[in-house]
Structures are given as C-alpha cells and as structure tokens.
Subunit: 190 residues, 4 copies
C-alpha cells in the first residue's frame, strides 16, 4: 500500500493536536499586562508541548520519507502513536494550570514516554516491513536514540517527585537529541 | 472523477473526530493521582472510540485503495458515513460521563450500528460504480462481515438494558472482526 | 498556479466546519431517553447544516475538478466563501438553541445567502481565469442555478418573520437544486 | 526532501487556526437582533484575523510554490511561523472581548509582528536552501516588503497606547501591502 494517506491522516491529527492546545489559553477579563501573568505557566506549557509535537511531526516526516510503502501493522502502530500524542493537550493543560506540581509533571513525562515507546514500535514495524537491508534499517542502526530517550524519560518521571524543574530539564534533553531529525536518514536519501 | 479529494476530505473529518474527543478529558483542579480517578471512565470511553474510529479509518483507507474513481452517489454515501462518525464524540461523552448506564451505552451502540450501515451503503454504491467484475467486488464477495456486524450491534444494543458490559463486549467483538482490514483487498492488490 | 493546495486547504477548513458543529451537542447529565429531548432541535439544526456544508463541499469538489489552474483573485474569492461557511456553526447554534425563532432563522438564511453569493463570485473569477471557451464556461452557461438560489434564499429570509417552517422549507428547496452537483460539469468531463 | 508534506501540514494548521476563531462567537440566549450587538466587536476582530491569516496562507502558498525542496532548518522555521500564527485566536479573543482596549490591541500587534518576523526567518532559510541564483531569490530581491512590514507593525504597537484605531489602521496597512501575494513570484513562474 502507498504511504500517501497515512501521511495525510497523521498530518491532520498532529495539526489538530498542536493547534487545539491553544484553546487552553483563555482571554483574561481584564486588559492589563498584569492580567496575563496567570497565563504564563499555561503559555510556557504550550510552548513546551508545541516543541515536542513539532519534533514528532518532523521525525515522522523524515521516517516516512525513508519508506516506500506501509503494511497493516504499520497503520495500527501509527494510530497507537497518534493516540498517545492526542493525550498531550490533556497532560499539558493539567501541568500548566497547576504551576508545575509533581504529579502532573510526572504524568506529562509518562505521556511523552508512551509517545517515545509508540514511536519505537512504529519504527519496529516499519523496519520489519522494509527489511534489514533497506535504507531505513541502515540509517537507524541499533536505534540508540530511541532507547536512550526512554531511559531519560524514566529518569525525568522519577525526578518529578524530587524537583519538577529537573524533570522538565530531562524532558528537554530528549527534545535536544531529536531536534535535528535523523541526519542518518537525510544522509542516505539526500 | 478522481478519488484524491474524497480521501483527503475524509481524512480531515476523521482526524478531527478522533482528536476532539480528547477535549472531553478535563484537567482536574487538584494535582493528586486520586483526582484522575473520575476521569477514568471518560478515558476508557475515549480509548474505545479511538479504536472504533481508527478501525473505520483503516478500512476506509483499504476500501478506497481498491477503487479507481468515484461517482456522485459515492460522494453522498461517504458524507452519510462521516455524519454518523461525527456523532461518536457526542455518544462517547454521554457514555463516559455517566459510568456506563444502560441508555447511553445503547445509544453508543446505535451510533456504531448507523456507522456500520452507512459503511455498507458506501460499499454498495462503490460496487455499483466499479462493477461486478472489479477487484473490489471479487474481494468483498457477499459481504458477510458487513451483515454480521449489523446483527452483533443489534444484539449489543438490546443487551445494554440487561448488562452494559455484555453490550460493550459485543461492540468490541465487531471491532475484532474489522481490526485487520480486509485482507481480501490486500491479497488482490498487494 | 496549480490547484492542489487550494483544494487541500478548502478541504481542511470545510472538514473542520462540518465537524465542530457537533460540539454544540452537549451530553446531558441524566441518562434517560427523555434527557435527549432538549437536544433534538440542536440535532436537527446540525443535520440541516451538515447537509448544506456537504452540498458546498460536493459542488466545490466538482467546480475545481473542472478547472486547470487558479489565479490570485480566485484564492481570495475562495477565502471569501470559506469565511461565510465558517459562520455556519455560529448561526446553526443560535437557531438550534432557540427552537427556531424568527430572527435566528432569518440570520441562518442570511449566512446561506452570503455563502451562495460568495460561491457565485468564486465562479465568476474562475470563469474569468479559464476563459469563455473553457469546459467550465460551457458547463455553467448563464448560471440559472446560482441566480435562482439567491432569489429563493431572499424569499426564505423574508418568510422567516411570517412562518419559520416556510423559511426552512425554502432553504431546503435550494439544497434540493444543488444536491446533485452540476451534472453539466460531469457530462463534459466524464 | 519534497515539499508536499510541509505544505499539507501547514494547510492543516492554518485551516484549524482560521476556523476555531469562530468558536469565540457565542450564540446569545436571546433571539433579537439587539442580542447580537455585543457580538459585533468579537465579529469584527474575527474578520480582521481571518484576513490576516488568509493573507499568510496566500503568501505561504506562493512562497512554497516557488521552491523545489525543503531542508531541516526550513521545517523548523515553518513551525516557528505556525506557532505565532496559532496564538492569533488567543490575541483575537482578548482584543474582541474587550472593545479594543490599548494593551490587547498592542498584544495583537505584537503577535502579528512575531508572525512577520517568523515569515522573514522562513524566507531567509528558504533562500539559503535554494541559493542566490534561484527563482525565489530573484523574485524577492532585498525583501523591502518584509522589512517595511516590521517597521509598520512596531509603529502600530506603539500607537495602540495613543489611539487604538490608529494602531489597527497601521496593522491593516500591512495587510494591504501583502493582500496581493508576491507578484514578483507569479511573474517569474507564471
């Protein structure tokens, strides 16, 4: 099967996820700059999630750029990823409205962890479909980035109960790793 | 007429349906894990509906993959399916917020029944347009899956008034049947 | 310029318009069938608007199917149409929540009138871009359907202050005219 | 990398931004024309933002029409633009619900300024990717339109604290400049 429609559907879902988060920003009733202050943590959570979802879109884009076709399991693995991504607006809202308390920050990390896990599952089924000698397989190698991300997220979730800023720093560390989408793919495809 | 735009429009509508359901999950004001407990039935309803809508997308994807062009009646039959799919967020919210009471569970099943019926109508018009000797016609055969689903949904709706878990089990039974999209189509197209 | 992106953007906007209307249907707190009764006028308004927006999508689909490329004015005329379509959720909500009172029903018709007018403007710029000898120009002819629709909508708006059901009957009369998208286009393109 | 998916994703995000703004228009409880009066400033803000977002879409459309492929930095620059565009519904709501008070009008302009800046950044990375001899580079030249817009927006933000109508007039002045998308691009591509 062609990959056109799975890309289009994923683009649609990710576009909605990244955009509806802004609905959490409620226009204050007063019209002073001070009235915007309570919106700041919600705004920062939005920025954070926009970056994370943007990274997923960029990497999803690169990933499917490297494959030729998709299989039934790939369709479901992709939906599994979209499911966990779709929860980001919820965990973002909970974290943002509560000034970064421990449990919401940990739940936020748990959702990011599930997204990362789902991304690995999607990669697994794509590699299985494309074969060990495919461009994708050669580009990904042993997927150290994927496994490393899972470990850092776990550390982040645990540290949320000690210091939420440490937790968020660890989440951001993962985003730094993925900010530049797989150059391994770009190099091999051009 | 080409099928590109009907696919794109359906992708858009289904992407929105599957994503706006998450807006029903409201961030609780407290920040304990206990505060999430009331969200659990809403979350599970969301999971259930995500699976159902995901199945429709997968099968819609396979169905249009097998056709070459579309006719006027196909455009309307497709809109008829999208209409019943668009009600899923509403019936999901009613079921989820009310801890699976009989009437909401039955209405949820009634909407799934209408979706299944609309899918059969869409299939009917596609087969009429493609002709009896088409790949699609040979792949679908007598559409036992379609008719069987309608019967199971009817049984599920009726059983909602006896035991809601039995009803949901029957709805899930249909999803198991459709979880793997028509291999009949995949086999013939490759 | 190619027409691919204007089609994709219009599909996106129309998909959102047709789907967010369902957010007006609020899950009632009680779980009896009787609790759904107050939702019925909102539901019927949704059905009505779903049909109208569906008709616009179908005709938009046919219209752009018949053109080869687009011009700058066409981009803006298309946005003008999308603007009036985007107000349909608002006028639908006002009409549905108020059991079909005169002013909301008239405003609903006024928005449909503006959509029809915008569609004629779009058609005008497409014809200007394609030329008098184009397939589209030959298919549309003197655009009796377009002008007739404007007249019937005006009659419908006026009659809303006498009898709202007559007004809605007249709005539906227009939808009957457009339900089957321009066969004139289909005949000439195949 | 091809440009198809970045166009599709941008179309999706912009389509959602332009459409969810209408959710700020709340159906009044009364059914007189007078009940619509408080909605008028919200409606006018919506019209204003619809025009601005429409202009961005048109120019985005022209911009990517002129490029052949995209690079990693272009993907991120595009997301940076989409981020500031996604805040338009929020600043529109704040401005519209408060009858054009100074601070919300200035913030509205500040977001437009950031959008314009992000557009220039996107253009910069596209030019870097395409090369100085590309169609795009020749069409854009010294980007006087881009720099001029930034200056006018700054003047508009400052004047919001003197006279909000002057501020909005200046914002509209920028939109007049961009209303007709780069003819420079159209001329060279045809």
């Amino acid at each position: 099967m062609g990959k056109g429609r799975i890309e289009a559907f994923s683009d649609g879902v990710i576009a909605i996820i990244i955009t509806i988060m802004v609905l959490e920003l409620h226009a204050p009733h007063e019209t002073t700059l001070a009235a915007l202050v309570p919106e700041i943590p919600i705004f920062l959570s939005y920025v954070l999630s926009f970056i994370f979802v943007g990274i997923y879109w960029n990497n999803h884009h690169h990933l499917f750029h490297a494959v030729k076709s998709v299989s039934g399991p790939v369709l479901w693995a992709n939906l599994f990823l979209l499911f966990w991504l779709s929860l980001i607006p919820f965990v973002t809202a909970w974290m943002g409205e509560n000034h970064l308390e421990a449990v919401p920050v940990a739940l936020y990390g748990a959702d990011l962890l599930m997204c990362a896990l789902a991304y690995s599952v999607l990669l697994h089924f794509l590699l299985k479909h494309e074969g060990a000698a495919s461009t994708l397989a050669l580009a990904i190698g042993r997927d150290l980035k994927g496994y490393g991300s899972l470990v850092i997220y776990l550390a982040g979730i645990a540290s949320a109960f000690v210091n939420v800023y440490l937790a968020i720093a660890l989440y951001l560390l993962v985003s730094v790793i993925w900010f530049v989408p797989d150059r391994r793919i770009e190099k091999r495809i051009g």
